[in-house]
Protein backbone atom coordinates (compact mmCIF):
# COMPACT_ATOMS: atom_id res chain seq x y z
CA UNK A 1 0.00 0.00 0.00
CA UNK A 2 1.13 3.50 -0.73
CA UNK A 3 1.54 4.95 2.73
CA UNK A 4 1.17 8.57 1.70
CA UNK A 5 -2.20 8.01 0.09
CA UNK A 6 -3.70 5.86 2.80
CA UNK A 7 -5.97 7.85 5.10
CA UNK A 8 -4.71 8.07 8.67
CA UNK A 9 -7.27 5.68 10.12
CA UNK A 10 -6.20 2.94 7.72
CA UNK A 11 -2.52 3.47 8.25
CA UNK A 12 -0.80 0.87 10.38
CA UNK A 13 0.37 2.14 13.74
CA UNK A 14 3.22 0.68 15.71
CA UNK A 15 2.01 -1.66 18.42
CA UNK A 16 3.11 0.69 21.18
CA UNK A 17 1.32 3.70 19.75
CA UNK A 18 -1.76 1.56 19.01
CA UNK A 19 -1.87 0.47 22.65
CA UNK A 20 -1.58 4.07 23.78
CA UNK A 21 -4.35 5.33 21.48
CA UNK A 22 -6.67 2.48 22.47
CA UNK A 23 -6.12 3.28 26.13
CA UNK A 24 -6.58 7.04 25.86
CA UNK A 25 -10.27 7.08 26.91
CA UNK A 26 -9.50 4.84 29.86
CA UNK A 27 -6.50 6.93 30.93
CA UNK A 28 -8.63 10.05 30.66
CA UNK A 29 -11.46 8.53 32.72
CA UNK A 30 -9.16 7.09 35.37
CA UNK A 31 -7.31 10.36 35.63
CA UNK A 32 -10.38 12.57 35.69
CA UNK A 33 -12.78 10.60 37.85
CA UNK A 34 -10.46 8.50 40.02
CA UNK A 35 -6.89 9.76 40.33
CA UNK A 36 -7.69 13.47 40.37
CA UNK A 37 -10.50 13.27 42.96
CA UNK A 38 -8.40 11.04 45.23
CA UNK A 39 -5.58 13.55 44.99
CA UNK A 40 -8.01 16.42 45.49
CA UNK A 41 -9.46 14.66 48.54
CA UNK A 42 -5.95 14.54 49.98
CA UNK A 43 -5.62 18.26 49.24
CA UNK A 44 -8.99 19.06 50.86
CA UNK A 45 -8.09 17.01 53.90
CA UNK A 46 -5.28 19.39 54.82
CA UNK A 47 -7.30 22.57 54.20
CA UNK A 48 -10.17 24.23 55.98
CA UNK A 49 -13.17 23.69 53.73
CA UNK A 50 -16.72 24.54 54.80
CA UNK A 51 -19.67 26.01 52.94
CA UNK A 52 -18.39 29.55 53.43
CA UNK A 53 -14.97 28.69 52.05
CA UNK A 54 -16.65 26.92 49.12
CA UNK A 55 -18.60 30.05 48.26
CA UNK A 56 -15.48 32.21 48.41
CA UNK A 57 -13.33 29.58 46.72
CA UNK A 58 -10.47 30.06 49.17
CA UNK A 59 -9.28 27.19 51.29
CA UNK A 60 -6.85 27.97 54.09
CA UNK A 61 -4.06 25.47 54.62
CA UNK A 62 -4.35 23.88 58.06
CA UNK A 63 -1.84 21.06 57.96
CA UNK A 64 -2.87 18.01 59.95
CA UNK A 65 -5.64 19.83 61.83
CA UNK A 66 -8.50 17.96 60.11
CA UNK A 67 -6.85 14.63 60.79
CA UNK A 68 -6.27 15.64 64.37
CA UNK A 69 -9.92 16.59 64.84
CA UNK A 70 -11.10 13.35 63.23
CA UNK A 71 -8.77 11.24 65.37
CA UNK A 72 -9.87 13.07 68.52
CA UNK A 73 -13.55 12.58 67.70
CA UNK A 74 -14.92 9.73 69.84
CA UNK A 75 -17.64 9.20 67.23
CA UNK A 76 -14.98 8.43 64.62
CA UNK A 77 -13.59 5.64 66.78
CA UNK A 78 -17.09 4.32 67.40
CA UNK A 79 -17.57 4.29 63.62
CA UNK A 80 -14.26 2.45 63.10
CA UNK A 81 -15.11 -0.08 65.79
CA UNK A 82 -18.58 -0.65 64.30
CA UNK A 83 -17.08 -1.00 60.82
CA UNK A 84 -14.63 -3.62 62.05
CA UNK A 85 -17.34 -5.60 63.86
CA UNK A 86 -19.63 -5.30 60.84
CA UNK A 87 -16.88 -6.47 58.48
CA UNK A 88 -15.78 -9.43 60.60
CA UNK A 89 -19.36 -10.66 60.99
CA UNK A 90 -20.43 -10.19 57.37
CA UNK A 91 -17.27 -11.54 55.74
CA UNK A 92 -16.96 -14.44 58.18
CA UNK A 93 -20.58 -15.51 57.73
CA UNK A 94 -20.41 -15.03 53.99
CA UNK A 95 -17.45 -17.35 53.60
CA UNK A 96 -18.95 -20.09 55.79
CA UNK A 97 -22.36 -19.77 54.08
CA UNK A 98 -20.87 -19.53 50.60
CA UNK A 99 -18.89 -22.76 51.00
CA UNK A 100 -21.87 -24.57 52.53
CA UNK A 101 -24.37 -23.37 49.93
CA UNK A 102 -21.98 -23.91 47.02
CA UNK A 103 -21.50 -27.52 48.17
CA UNK A 104 -25.26 -27.84 48.49
CA UNK A 105 -26.07 -26.62 44.98
CA UNK A 106 -23.21 -28.70 43.59
CA UNK A 107 -24.80 -31.86 44.98
CA UNK A 108 -26.18 -34.12 42.26
CA UNK A 109 -29.44 -35.98 42.66
CA UNK A 110 -31.19 -33.53 45.00
CA UNK A 111 -33.98 -31.80 43.12
CA UNK A 112 -34.35 -28.96 45.63
CA UNK A 113 -30.72 -28.03 44.92
CA UNK A 114 -31.76 -27.13 41.40
CA UNK A 115 -34.29 -24.62 42.76
CA UNK A 116 -31.66 -23.11 45.03
CA UNK A 117 -29.22 -22.86 42.12
CA UNK A 118 -31.85 -21.04 40.08
CA UNK A 119 -32.64 -18.56 42.85
CA UNK A 120 -29.11 -17.94 44.07
CA UNK A 121 -28.48 -14.83 41.96
CA UNK A 122 -31.76 -13.13 42.88
CA UNK A 123 -30.31 -10.89 45.66
CA UNK A 124 -27.77 -9.55 43.15
CA UNK A 125 -30.67 -7.98 41.26
CA UNK A 126 -32.01 -5.98 44.21
CA UNK A 127 -30.83 -2.34 44.46
CA UNK A 128 -29.01 -1.91 47.80
CA UNK A 129 -31.27 0.95 48.88
CA UNK A 130 -34.38 -1.16 48.18
CA UNK A 131 -32.78 -4.04 50.03
CA UNK A 132 -32.29 -1.75 53.00
CA UNK A 133 -35.89 -0.51 52.94
CA UNK A 134 -37.30 -4.00 52.54
CA UNK A 135 -35.37 -5.11 55.60
CA UNK A 136 -36.48 -2.09 57.55
CA UNK A 137 -40.03 -3.25 56.80
CA UNK A 138 -39.05 -6.78 57.90
CA UNK A 139 -37.46 -5.46 61.09
CA UNK A 140 -40.10 -2.86 61.98
CA UNK A 141 -40.98 -3.05 65.66
CA UNK A 142 -44.73 -2.55 65.35
CA UNK A 143 -45.58 -3.44 61.77
CA UNK A 144 -42.65 -5.62 60.78
CA UNK A 145 -42.97 -8.68 58.62
CA UNK A 146 -40.41 -10.68 60.61
CA UNK A 147 -42.34 -10.27 63.87
CA UNK A 148 -45.53 -11.25 62.01
CA UNK A 149 -43.89 -14.47 60.86
CA UNK A 150 -42.65 -15.24 64.35
CA UNK A 151 -46.08 -14.47 65.87
CA UNK A 152 -47.78 -16.69 63.31
CA UNK A 153 -45.29 -19.47 63.98
CA UNK A 154 -45.85 -18.99 67.70
CA UNK A 155 -42.17 -18.36 68.39
CA UNK A 156 -42.53 -15.00 70.18
CA UNK A 157 -45.17 -13.45 72.42
CA UNK A 158 -44.04 -9.84 72.31
CA UNK A 159 -42.72 -7.93 69.30
CA UNK A 160 -38.93 -7.78 69.00
CA UNK A 161 -37.29 -4.45 68.20
CA UNK A 162 -34.61 -5.84 65.87
CA UNK A 163 -33.00 -2.68 64.52
CA UNK A 164 -34.15 -0.23 67.18
CA UNK A 165 -32.27 -1.78 70.06
CA UNK A 166 -28.70 -0.46 70.44
CA UNK A 167 -27.48 -3.90 71.50
CA UNK A 168 -28.77 -5.70 68.42
CA UNK A 169 -28.92 -2.98 65.74
CA UNK A 170 -25.41 -3.56 64.39
CA UNK A 171 -26.05 -7.29 64.09
CA UNK A 172 -29.43 -6.58 62.50
CA UNK A 173 -27.86 -4.55 59.68
CA UNK A 174 -25.31 -7.28 58.92
CA UNK A 175 -28.05 -9.70 57.80
CA UNK A 176 -29.36 -7.62 54.84
CA UNK A 177 -25.81 -6.95 53.73
CA UNK A 178 -24.95 -10.64 53.86
CA UNK A 179 -28.18 -11.41 52.01
CA UNK A 180 -27.34 -9.01 49.20
CA UNK A 181 -23.67 -9.85 48.72
CA UNK A 182 -23.76 -13.61 49.30
CA UNK A 183 -24.51 -14.55 45.63
CA UNK A 184 -21.14 -13.19 44.55
CA UNK A 185 -19.27 -15.40 47.03
CA UNK A 186 -21.39 -18.48 46.26
CA UNK A 187 -20.82 -18.11 42.53
CA UNK A 188 -17.06 -17.90 42.95
CA UNK A 189 -16.92 -20.92 45.27
CA UNK A 190 -19.27 -22.87 43.02
CA UNK A 191 -17.10 -22.13 39.98
CA UNK A 192 -14.02 -23.31 41.90
CA UNK A 193 -15.84 -26.49 42.99
CA UNK A 194 -16.64 -27.33 39.41
CA UNK A 195 -12.97 -27.04 38.57
CA UNK A 196 -12.01 -29.87 40.92
CA UNK A 197 -11.47 -33.09 38.92
CA UNK A 198 -14.05 -35.77 39.78
CA UNK A 199 -11.36 -38.45 39.68
CA UNK A 200 -9.91 -37.09 42.92
CA UNK A 201 -13.18 -37.86 44.71
CA UNK A 202 -13.57 -41.23 43.04
CA UNK A 203 -10.05 -42.21 44.04
CA UNK A 204 -10.66 -41.04 47.61
CA UNK A 205 -13.92 -43.01 47.76
CA UNK A 206 -12.06 -46.15 46.67
CA UNK A 207 -9.52 -45.49 49.41
CA UNK A 208 -12.41 -45.40 51.87
CA UNK A 209 -12.27 -41.72 52.84
CA UNK A 210 -15.49 -40.44 54.43
CA UNK A 211 -17.21 -37.21 53.45
CA UNK A 212 -15.36 -35.09 56.04
CA UNK A 213 -11.98 -36.49 54.99
CA UNK A 214 -12.73 -35.85 51.35
CA UNK A 215 -13.65 -32.26 52.21
CA UNK A 216 -10.50 -31.74 54.30
CA UNK A 217 -8.11 -33.46 51.90
CA UNK A 218 -9.49 -32.46 48.50
CA UNK A 219 -12.15 -29.75 48.54
CA UNK A 220 -10.71 -27.38 51.13
CA UNK A 221 -7.17 -27.19 49.67
CA UNK A 222 -8.65 -26.59 46.21
CA UNK A 223 -10.87 -23.79 47.57
CA UNK A 224 -8.24 -21.91 49.55
CA UNK A 225 -7.20 -19.61 46.73
CA UNK A 226 -10.75 -18.51 45.89
CA UNK A 227 -11.61 -18.09 49.55
CA UNK A 228 -8.63 -15.79 49.99
CA UNK A 229 -9.87 -13.74 47.02
CA UNK A 230 -13.41 -13.55 48.40
CA UNK A 231 -12.06 -12.65 51.83
CA UNK A 232 -10.11 -9.70 50.47
CA UNK A 233 -12.74 -8.40 48.04
CA UNK A 234 -15.59 -8.66 50.52
CA UNK A 235 -13.56 -7.12 53.34
CA UNK A 236 -12.70 -4.11 51.19
CA UNK A 237 -16.31 -3.57 50.16
CA UNK A 238 -17.83 -4.25 53.58
CA UNK A 239 -15.52 -1.53 54.94
CA UNK A 240 -17.39 0.99 52.81
CA UNK A 241 -20.97 -0.17 53.57
CA UNK A 242 -23.45 2.68 53.18
CA UNK A 243 -26.89 2.00 51.64
CA UNK A 244 -28.19 -0.50 54.19
CA UNK A 245 -27.15 1.80 57.03
CA UNK A 246 -28.92 4.75 55.42
CA UNK A 247 -32.12 2.79 54.82
CA UNK A 248 -32.42 0.84 58.04
CA UNK A 249 -30.90 2.75 60.94
CA UNK A 250 -29.29 6.02 59.70
CA UNK A 251 -26.51 5.29 62.14
CA UNK A 252 -28.87 4.88 65.07
CA UNK A 253 -30.13 4.14 67.59
CA UNK A 254 -27.70 6.60 69.13
CA UNK A 255 -24.38 5.82 67.50
CA UNK A 256 -24.89 2.04 67.46
CA UNK A 257 -24.57 1.68 63.68
CA UNK A 258 -22.35 4.61 62.69
CA UNK A 259 -19.86 3.13 60.24
CA UNK A 260 -16.89 4.74 58.52
CA UNK A 261 -18.61 5.70 55.23
CA UNK A 262 -21.64 7.03 57.13
CA UNK A 263 -19.32 9.13 59.30
CA UNK A 264 -17.65 10.73 56.26
CA UNK A 265 -21.04 11.28 54.61
CA UNK A 266 -22.62 12.93 57.64
CA UNK A 267 -19.59 15.07 58.50
CA UNK A 268 -19.46 16.32 54.92
CA UNK A 269 -23.03 16.60 53.69
CA UNK A 270 -24.97 17.31 56.88
CA UNK A 271 -24.65 20.70 58.54
CA UNK A 272 -22.16 22.16 59.40
CA UNK A 273 -20.72 20.63 56.19
CA UNK A 274 -17.10 20.20 57.12
CA UNK A 275 -15.63 19.08 53.78
CA UNK A 276 -12.08 19.13 55.15
CA UNK A 277 -12.80 16.78 58.03
CA UNK A 278 -15.00 14.62 55.80
CA UNK A 279 -12.15 14.27 53.32
CA UNK A 280 -9.70 13.45 56.07
CA UNK A 281 -11.92 10.68 57.44
CA UNK A 282 -12.69 9.34 53.95
CA UNK A 283 -8.99 9.38 53.22
CA UNK A 284 -8.23 7.33 56.32
CA UNK A 285 -10.84 4.80 55.16
CA UNK A 286 -9.27 4.77 51.69
CA UNK A 287 -5.81 4.09 53.07
CA UNK A 288 -7.15 1.13 55.04
CA UNK A 289 -8.84 -0.24 51.92
CA UNK A 290 -5.74 0.46 49.80
CA UNK A 291 -3.71 -1.76 52.12
CA UNK A 292 -6.23 -4.54 51.50
CA UNK A 293 -6.08 -3.91 47.73
CA UNK A 294 -2.30 -4.32 47.69
CA UNK A 295 -2.59 -7.69 49.43
CA UNK A 296 -5.10 -8.70 46.74
CA UNK A 297 -2.75 -7.61 43.97
CA UNK A 298 0.05 -9.72 45.40
CA UNK A 299 -2.25 -12.68 45.82
CA UNK A 300 -3.57 -12.82 42.26
CA UNK A 301 -0.25 -12.01 40.64
CA UNK A 302 1.44 -14.92 42.36
CA UNK A 303 -0.31 -17.34 40.06
CA UNK A 304 -2.11 -15.50 37.30
CA UNK A 305 -0.37 -15.10 33.98
CA UNK A 306 -2.45 -12.34 32.45
Amino acid sequence: MNRARTPWFRREMSAGRFALVMNLPTLLCLGLVLAYPVGYAAYLSVHRVGLGQLRRGEFAFTGWENYGRVLEDPLFWVAIKNTLIFTVITVGSEIVLAVAIALLINQAGIWTSRITRFLILLPYAIPPICNGLIWSFLYSFQFGFLNRILFTAGLIDDPVNWAGNPDTALYAVTVPYIWRTLPFAIILVHAALQGIPRELYEQAAIDGANAWHRFRQITWPMLQQIIAIILILRTAFAFAVFEEILAITQGGPGDATWVAAWYSYKITFAPPNNFGMGSASAFILTLMIAAIALVYLRLIYRRVTL
Binding site: M13, C29, L30, L32, L122, P127, C130, L233, A293, L306
Partner: protein
Protein backbone atom coordinates in the same frame (compact mmCIF):
# COMPACT_ATOMS: atom_id res chain seq x y z
CA UNK B 1 -19.82 -35.39 47.63
CA UNK B 2 -22.07 -37.14 50.11
CA UNK B 3 -23.33 -40.68 49.81
CA UNK B 4 -27.04 -40.15 49.40
CA UNK B 5 -28.63 -42.30 52.05
CA UNK B 6 -32.28 -41.38 52.74
CA UNK B 7 -31.35 -39.53 55.95
CA UNK B 8 -28.66 -37.51 54.21
CA UNK B 9 -31.06 -36.77 51.37
CA UNK B 10 -33.68 -35.49 53.79
CA UNK B 11 -31.14 -33.25 55.51
CA UNK B 12 -29.97 -31.83 52.19
CA UNK B 13 -33.56 -31.10 51.21
CA UNK B 14 -34.08 -29.35 54.53
CA UNK B 15 -30.90 -27.32 54.05
CA UNK B 16 -32.13 -26.30 50.60
CA UNK B 17 -35.48 -25.27 52.01
CA UNK B 18 -33.76 -23.09 54.60
CA UNK B 19 -31.63 -21.39 51.93
CA UNK B 20 -34.66 -20.88 49.67
CA UNK B 21 -36.60 -19.42 52.60
CA UNK B 22 -33.75 -17.02 53.36
CA UNK B 23 -33.44 -15.90 49.73
CA UNK B 24 -37.17 -15.43 49.25
CA UNK B 25 -37.95 -13.80 52.61
CA UNK B 26 -37.32 -10.17 51.54
CA UNK B 27 -38.87 -10.78 48.12
CA UNK B 28 -42.07 -12.10 49.70
CA UNK B 29 -42.02 -9.22 52.18
CA UNK B 30 -41.79 -6.57 49.44
CA UNK B 31 -44.64 -8.22 47.52
CA UNK B 32 -46.96 -8.55 50.48
CA UNK B 33 -46.09 -5.11 51.80
CA UNK B 34 -46.81 -3.46 48.46
CA UNK B 35 -50.33 -4.84 48.03
CA UNK B 36 -51.66 -3.78 51.41
CA UNK B 37 -53.22 -0.63 52.69
CA UNK B 38 -51.73 1.37 55.50
CA UNK B 39 -54.84 0.61 57.48
CA UNK B 40 -54.54 -3.13 57.01
CA UNK B 41 -50.90 -3.03 58.06
CA UNK B 42 -51.67 -1.01 61.17
CA UNK B 43 -54.92 -2.67 62.18
CA UNK B 44 -53.52 -6.04 63.04
CA UNK B 45 -49.78 -6.00 63.72
CA UNK B 46 -49.56 -9.75 64.22
CA UNK B 47 -51.29 -11.04 61.11
CA UNK B 48 -49.10 -12.38 58.33
CA UNK B 49 -51.61 -11.88 55.52
CA UNK B 50 -54.33 -9.26 56.07
CA UNK B 51 -57.86 -9.74 54.85
CA UNK B 52 -57.79 -7.13 52.12
CA UNK B 53 -55.37 -6.52 49.30
CA UNK B 54 -55.18 -3.49 47.05
CA UNK B 55 -53.27 -2.17 44.07
CA UNK B 56 -53.80 1.45 45.12
CA UNK B 57 -50.14 1.86 46.09
CA UNK B 58 -49.11 1.24 42.51
CA UNK B 59 -51.95 3.34 41.14
CA UNK B 60 -50.96 6.38 43.16
CA UNK B 61 -47.30 6.09 42.06
CA UNK B 62 -48.05 5.37 38.41
CA UNK B 63 -50.62 8.15 38.06
CA UNK B 64 -48.27 10.67 39.70
CA UNK B 65 -50.61 10.98 42.66
CA UNK B 66 -53.61 12.01 40.55
CA UNK B 67 -55.66 8.92 41.13
CA UNK B 68 -55.43 8.36 44.81
CA UNK B 69 -57.65 5.31 45.01
CA UNK B 70 -59.50 4.26 48.11
CA UNK B 71 -56.60 3.94 50.50
CA UNK B 72 -55.13 7.38 49.89
CA UNK B 73 -58.52 9.18 49.76
CA UNK B 74 -58.00 11.03 52.98
CA UNK B 75 -54.33 11.69 52.39
CA UNK B 76 -53.69 15.37 51.77
CA UNK B 77 -49.93 15.27 51.46
CA UNK B 78 -47.83 13.02 49.26
CA UNK B 79 -44.08 13.60 48.84
CA UNK B 80 -43.32 15.23 45.50
CA UNK B 81 -40.70 12.61 44.80
CA UNK B 82 -43.37 9.91 44.68
CA UNK B 83 -45.08 11.89 41.95
CA UNK B 84 -41.79 12.05 40.09
CA UNK B 85 -41.64 8.34 39.45
CA UNK B 86 -41.61 8.52 35.65
CA UNK B 87 -38.92 11.19 35.54
CA UNK B 88 -36.77 9.18 37.94
CA UNK B 89 -37.34 6.00 35.99
CA UNK B 90 -36.36 7.74 32.76
CA UNK B 91 -33.28 9.27 34.42
CA UNK B 92 -32.22 5.89 35.78
CA UNK B 93 -32.65 4.33 32.34
CA UNK B 94 -30.68 7.07 30.58
CA UNK B 95 -27.86 6.89 33.13
CA UNK B 96 -27.67 3.09 33.17
CA UNK B 97 -27.71 2.74 29.38
CA UNK B 98 -25.15 5.53 28.85
CA UNK B 99 -22.83 4.13 31.50
CA UNK B 100 -23.17 0.62 30.03
CA UNK B 101 -22.37 1.82 26.50
CA UNK B 102 -19.44 3.99 27.58
CA UNK B 103 -17.85 1.39 29.88
CA UNK B 104 -18.23 -1.30 27.19
CA UNK B 105 -16.73 0.97 24.54
CA UNK B 106 -13.77 2.28 26.53
CA UNK B 107 -13.42 -0.98 28.43
CA UNK B 108 -13.12 -3.19 25.37
CA UNK B 109 -10.61 -0.88 23.67
CA UNK B 110 -8.53 -0.94 26.81
CA UNK B 111 -8.99 -4.55 27.89
CA UNK B 112 -8.03 -5.84 24.44
CA UNK B 113 -4.73 -3.99 24.35
CA UNK B 114 -3.96 -4.78 27.99
CA UNK B 115 -4.52 -8.47 27.31
CA UNK B 116 -2.68 -8.55 23.97
CA UNK B 117 0.20 -6.13 24.04
CA UNK B 118 2.64 -6.60 26.86
CA UNK B 119 4.59 -3.56 27.85
CA UNK B 120 5.65 -2.52 31.26
CA UNK B 121 3.11 0.30 31.23
CA UNK B 122 0.21 -1.88 30.07
CA UNK B 123 0.86 -4.27 32.92
CA UNK B 124 1.03 -1.30 35.26
CA UNK B 125 -2.26 0.05 33.90
CA UNK B 126 -3.91 -3.32 34.42
CA UNK B 127 -2.70 -3.37 38.01
CA UNK B 128 -3.84 0.22 38.46
CA UNK B 129 -7.30 -0.91 37.35
CA UNK B 130 -7.28 -3.69 39.92
CA UNK B 131 -6.41 -1.24 42.69
CA UNK B 132 -8.87 1.36 41.32
CA UNK B 133 -11.70 -1.12 41.74
CA UNK B 134 -11.22 -0.88 45.48
CA UNK B 135 -11.53 2.90 45.75
CA UNK B 136 -14.57 3.59 47.95
CA UNK B 137 -17.16 5.91 46.38
CA UNK B 138 -17.34 8.13 49.43
CA UNK B 139 -13.76 9.39 49.04
CA UNK B 140 -14.51 10.31 45.41
CA UNK B 141 -17.79 12.02 46.15
CA UNK B 142 -16.49 14.82 48.36
CA UNK B 143 -14.01 16.16 45.77
CA UNK B 144 -16.35 15.34 42.86
CA UNK B 145 -19.10 17.36 44.52
CA UNK B 146 -16.79 20.36 44.84
CA UNK B 147 -15.45 19.99 41.29
CA UNK B 148 -18.87 19.48 39.70
CA UNK B 149 -20.19 22.40 41.72
CA UNK B 150 -17.46 24.68 40.43
CA UNK B 151 -17.93 23.64 36.79
CA UNK B 152 -21.72 23.81 37.03
CA UNK B 153 -22.32 20.10 36.55
CA UNK B 154 -24.35 19.60 39.71
CA UNK B 155 -27.91 18.59 38.89
CA UNK B 156 -27.23 17.15 35.48
CA UNK B 157 -27.38 13.65 34.13
CA UNK B 158 -24.10 14.04 32.28
CA UNK B 159 -22.23 14.69 35.52
CA UNK B 160 -23.59 11.45 36.99
CA UNK B 161 -22.83 9.54 33.78
CA UNK B 162 -19.22 10.79 33.72
CA UNK B 163 -18.67 9.97 37.38
CA UNK B 164 -20.20 6.50 37.15
CA UNK B 165 -18.36 5.66 33.93
CA UNK B 166 -15.03 6.53 35.53
CA UNK B 167 -15.92 4.66 38.66
CA UNK B 168 -17.03 1.47 36.86
CA UNK B 169 -14.52 1.40 34.01
CA UNK B 170 -11.80 -0.46 35.96
CA UNK B 171 -14.27 -3.22 36.81
CA UNK B 172 -15.39 -3.47 33.17
CA UNK B 173 -11.77 -3.84 32.09
CA UNK B 174 -11.17 -6.57 34.67
CA UNK B 175 -14.21 -8.51 33.43
CA UNK B 176 -13.26 -8.17 29.74
CA UNK B 177 -9.48 -8.61 29.79
CA UNK B 178 -9.38 -12.33 30.71
CA UNK B 179 -11.79 -13.08 27.89
CA UNK B 180 -9.76 -11.27 25.24
CA UNK B 181 -6.78 -13.20 26.52
CA UNK B 182 -8.45 -16.51 25.59
CA UNK B 183 -9.09 -15.53 21.94
CA UNK B 184 -6.21 -17.01 19.91
CA UNK B 185 -4.05 -14.26 18.42
CA UNK B 186 -3.55 -16.33 15.23
CA UNK B 187 -6.94 -15.08 14.06
CA UNK B 188 -5.88 -11.45 14.07
CA UNK B 189 -2.52 -12.30 12.57
CA UNK B 190 -4.28 -14.01 9.67
CA UNK B 191 -6.56 -10.99 9.26
CA UNK B 192 -3.61 -8.62 9.25
CA UNK B 193 -1.86 -10.65 6.55
CA UNK B 194 -5.04 -10.15 4.54
CA UNK B 195 -4.63 -6.40 4.90
CA UNK B 196 -6.45 -5.48 8.09
CA UNK B 197 -4.89 -2.92 10.38
CA UNK B 198 -4.64 -3.68 14.08
CA UNK B 199 -7.77 -1.68 14.69
CA UNK B 200 -9.89 -3.23 11.93
CA UNK B 201 -8.72 -6.70 12.97
CA UNK B 202 -9.92 -5.85 16.48
CA UNK B 203 -13.28 -4.55 15.29
CA UNK B 204 -13.98 -7.20 12.64
CA UNK B 205 -12.41 -10.32 14.13
CA UNK B 206 -11.99 -10.00 17.88
CA UNK B 207 -15.08 -8.03 18.91
CA UNK B 208 -17.60 -10.39 17.26
CA UNK B 209 -15.90 -13.32 18.99
CA UNK B 210 -16.10 -11.47 22.29
CA UNK B 211 -19.88 -11.01 22.24
CA UNK B 212 -20.46 -13.31 25.26
CA UNK B 213 -17.96 -11.31 27.31
CA UNK B 214 -19.48 -8.02 26.16
CA UNK B 215 -22.91 -9.31 27.15
CA UNK B 216 -21.64 -10.43 30.56
CA UNK B 217 -19.86 -7.14 31.19
CA UNK B 218 -22.72 -5.06 29.81
CA UNK B 219 -25.39 -6.60 31.98
CA UNK B 220 -23.22 -6.26 35.10
CA UNK B 221 -22.49 -2.61 34.30
CA UNK B 222 -26.20 -1.93 33.74
CA UNK B 223 -27.15 -3.54 37.03
CA UNK B 224 -24.49 -1.71 39.06
CA UNK B 225 -25.34 1.67 37.57
CA UNK B 226 -29.08 1.05 37.99
CA UNK B 227 -28.36 0.36 41.67
CA UNK B 228 -25.89 3.20 42.28
CA UNK B 229 -27.06 5.55 45.02
CA UNK B 230 -24.24 7.69 46.41
CA UNK B 231 -23.07 9.29 43.16
CA UNK B 232 -26.48 10.64 42.03
CA UNK B 233 -27.51 11.30 45.64
CA UNK B 234 -24.66 13.73 46.16
CA UNK B 235 -24.50 15.24 42.67
CA UNK B 236 -28.23 15.65 41.97
CA UNK B 237 -30.45 17.27 44.57
CA UNK B 238 -33.16 18.60 42.23
CA UNK B 239 -36.14 16.29 41.65
CA UNK B 240 -35.85 16.59 37.87
CA UNK B 241 -32.47 14.90 37.89
CA UNK B 242 -32.98 12.28 40.57
CA UNK B 243 -32.59 8.63 39.71
CA UNK B 244 -34.80 5.95 41.25
CA UNK B 245 -32.45 5.02 44.12
CA UNK B 246 -32.23 8.72 45.07
CA UNK B 247 -36.02 9.08 45.08
CA UNK B 248 -36.29 5.98 47.24
CA UNK B 249 -33.57 7.19 49.61
CA UNK B 250 -35.44 10.50 49.96
CA UNK B 251 -38.43 8.62 51.41
CA UNK B 252 -36.35 7.27 54.28
CA UNK B 253 -37.45 9.04 57.43
CA UNK B 254 -40.40 10.78 55.75
CA UNK B 255 -43.17 10.39 58.31
CA UNK B 256 -45.84 10.69 55.63
CA UNK B 257 -44.71 7.59 53.79
CA UNK B 258 -45.70 4.26 55.19
CA UNK B 259 -44.25 0.85 54.39
CA UNK B 260 -46.94 -0.09 51.86
CA UNK B 261 -46.06 2.81 49.56
CA UNK B 262 -42.31 2.30 50.06
CA UNK B 263 -42.56 -1.39 49.23
CA UNK B 264 -44.55 -0.58 46.09
CA UNK B 265 -41.96 1.88 44.77
CA UNK B 266 -39.14 -0.52 45.72
CA UNK B 267 -40.85 -3.30 43.78
CA UNK B 268 -41.14 -1.04 40.71
CA UNK B 269 -37.47 -0.08 41.02
CA UNK B 270 -36.11 -3.60 41.44
CA UNK B 271 -38.24 -5.23 38.74
CA UNK B 272 -36.04 -4.27 35.72
CA UNK B 273 -32.85 -5.73 37.16
CA UNK B 274 -34.65 -8.84 38.43
CA UNK B 275 -35.87 -9.47 34.88
CA UNK B 276 -32.33 -8.94 33.55
CA UNK B 277 -30.86 -11.34 36.09
CA UNK B 278 -33.50 -13.96 35.35
CA UNK B 279 -32.89 -13.75 31.60
CA UNK B 280 -29.12 -13.36 31.55
CA UNK B 281 -28.10 -15.37 34.59
CA UNK B 282 -25.50 -17.39 32.67
CA UNK B 283 -23.65 -14.27 31.50
CA UNK B 284 -23.68 -12.64 34.92
CA UNK B 285 -22.22 -15.76 36.53
CA UNK B 286 -19.41 -15.82 33.97
CA UNK B 287 -18.74 -12.10 34.26
CA UNK B 288 -18.63 -12.12 38.05
CA UNK B 289 -16.10 -14.94 38.20
CA UNK B 290 -13.99 -13.50 35.38
CA UNK B 291 -13.81 -10.09 37.05
CA UNK B 292 -12.72 -11.48 40.40
CA UNK B 293 -10.33 -14.27 39.63
CA UNK B 294 -8.39 -13.72 36.48
CA UNK B 295 -8.04 -9.93 36.51
Amino acid sequence: MFKTTPTVKLMLHLANLMVIFFILLPVVAVFIGSIQSEKALQADTRRLLPLEFTLDNFTVILTKGEQKGRIFEQVTYLPDNIKNFYVAFANSTIVAISVTVLTLLFGSLSAYTLARLRYRWTLFLLQANIVARFVPVIVLMIPLYIVMRSVGQLNSLSGVIIAETGFLLPYAILILAPYFDTIPSELEEAARIDGCTRFTAFVRIVLPLATPALAACGVIMFIISWHELLIPLILNARPNFMTLPVVIASLVGDVHVFFNLMMAICLLALAPTVVLVALLQKYIVEGLSAGAVKG
